[in-house]
Amino acid sequence: MFEKVLIANRGEIALRVVRTLREMGIRSVAVYSDADRAALHVRKADEAAYLGPAPSRESYLNIPRILDAARLHKVDAIHPGYGFLSENAEFARACADAGFVFIGPPASAIAAMGSKTAARRIARDGGAPVVPGTEEGLGASPEGRDAASEFAQSVGFPVMLKAVAGGGGKGMRRVDRPADLAAHFDAASSEALRAFGDGRVYVEKLVENARHIEIQILGDRHGNMVHLGERECSVQRRHQKVIEESPSPLMASMPALRQRMGEAAVLAARAAGYYNAGTVEFLADNDGNFYFLEMNTRLQVEHPVTELVTGLDLVRLQLEIADGARLPFTQDQIALRGAAIECRIYAEDPANNFMPSPGRITQLAEPSGPGVRLDSGIYSGWNVPLDYDPMLAKLIVWAGTREHAIERMQRALGEYHIGGIRTNIPLFDAILRDPAFRAGDLYTGYLDELLKQPGLLGLPPAPELAAVAAAAVAAYVKPAAAHAEQPASSPLLTGGRWLRGGRGDLLR
């Protein structure tokens, strides 16, 4: 097994990998940019290497600098996390060429699945159903627009435009009417060009009211491959996942569907020559029809829900597979137990059009107790940088049933307080009490519809709580009076309050 591994990532996922490495007795090497010197993943790793300035292309996306760090720290292998270079075939190849094991799939499979049109062909030829769509990517030219229009007319509106090099919702547009096609086509193409350096777009028939259900697969380098059940990720905003869960509520009424989707996912992954952990994404309807969307050739943000229902550590398995081990189980030995839900905690304000909210975390109270897992990259006093994705943490719960898991998540969210910045925690409260969510009645447009409800984030008026709040405010602004009621041991707290007041004055 490896002696030392570098994690080419930051934040909660870097820390999550550090934790498994420590459990396995492997030394961990974090990397950081100027914005992340004090980040939690740097504090918790065994070693750390400086990459460069805050912009990603000069640090976390800079292949030569990451390889220099790997050489300097004499590591055996590199874990890419998710995002950044995790689905960059050139990086996987460069790691191998420099003598480091890339903890992930072969570069050829990353490249094959990186082109979304090529991935659709591979999946279809492997026997997985795909949504009707254009064979090839189309450029922002008159011919490209004409071909898009011709295809859309033939399958009927609405259609989806998607970037060939796509990911993360970039370059994606829904088109409802022929008249809107040209403008959306140009917008999607220019967004794709900016995000990926490739402006080609393809057209898919839009499957209305579909669920987003994905299958976790795991394969070794000896030809063994299994699936680890599904995750339902239909609760999305701007094509970005907000809540994920396993099992999908759909499986309760369709017991055979998991096996059918699992087999289709394994077929698609095998056709690409895949090994290590990966995810095959599908659209599924309530009649049990499903269609291949794309394959994510990395560990995903939402992998913990699969870990909780299977009892496996996917990062440990990734390391063992990369080291040449065989899968330690067969498909028959995989059992799913209970229900897990994940909420992605973002630094954004749901009451103000989801405006990003970077800044200093002044207070932090984290949930704990039965069935609660928190994968977090923050601490009290940490300054959330504005240079990266606004995800702060993932709160994941497990319970015996979905109903209990929802109740447990509500309890855990009630214990969670992040002060100094705004977060989307109030949004989760609203979703978890929504009857449609509780009934498992989900589709990818679910959250956009819910957000149209006026007063969604509001709670019933509570004058008695306002009076309790006022009592705390009175104590806060009157140090002497509060001091008189406090135990004798707290002069430091009182001092802290005076300091805070002074600081507030200066900052005003």
Partner: protein
């Protein structure tokens, strides 16, 4: 004289409590009528901020009668409106030109931070009087990006 405490704009008398302890800086444990409450205060100014209790977040404001306070607030009146950068970031696009007539809610500037683009909208109908930012400019939180003069009829 006691300061007047306003919670979400309303004057509120503090609950009468048995004991109140500051358990962490800005965090209060209050026992009142047999109930246990945990209350968190985040001051944004010396006399104002947010207070959170039982998942509810209130704005608070303390009016100390010993201090002279301005009663009105220019932002809520009929005067000029400033479009301010709500966070540090980069100006991606300017959607209007000086002299343009704009409706309330019209997008004025797009600012990007944390990989997210945000369109800042005009709070009222009027005319764009000035634009103080260019595309690709980096801006600090609170920077004035544009000024909107009120529409002549109101």
């Amino acid at each position: 004289m006691k300061p007047v405490i306003r919670i979400d704009g309303e004057t509120v008398s503090p609950v009468s409590h048995n004991t109140l302890v500051e358990v962490e800086p800005g965090v209060y444990s209050i026992l009142a009528g047999g109930a246990s409450h945990e209350v968190r205060i985040e001051a944004t100014r010396v006399d104002a901020g947010q207070v959170t209790v039982a998942k509810r977040r209130f704005d608070y404001q303390v009016d100390d009668p010993r201090q002279w306070k301005r009663s009105g607030d220019a932002a809520g009146g009929q005067g000029r409106a400033a479009i301010l950068a709500p966070m540090p970031g980069k100006v991606v696009r300017i959607l209007v030109a000086v002299g343009d007539e704009v409706e309330a809610g019209r997008g004025i500037v797009v600012v990007e931070a944390m990989k997210m683009q945000n369109e800042l909208k005009s709070p009222r109908a009027g005319r764009v009087a000035a634009i103080h930012a260019g595309e690709n400019d980096s801006v600090v939180a609170g920077a004035v990006l544009a000024i909107i003069d009120p529409a002549p009829d109101g």
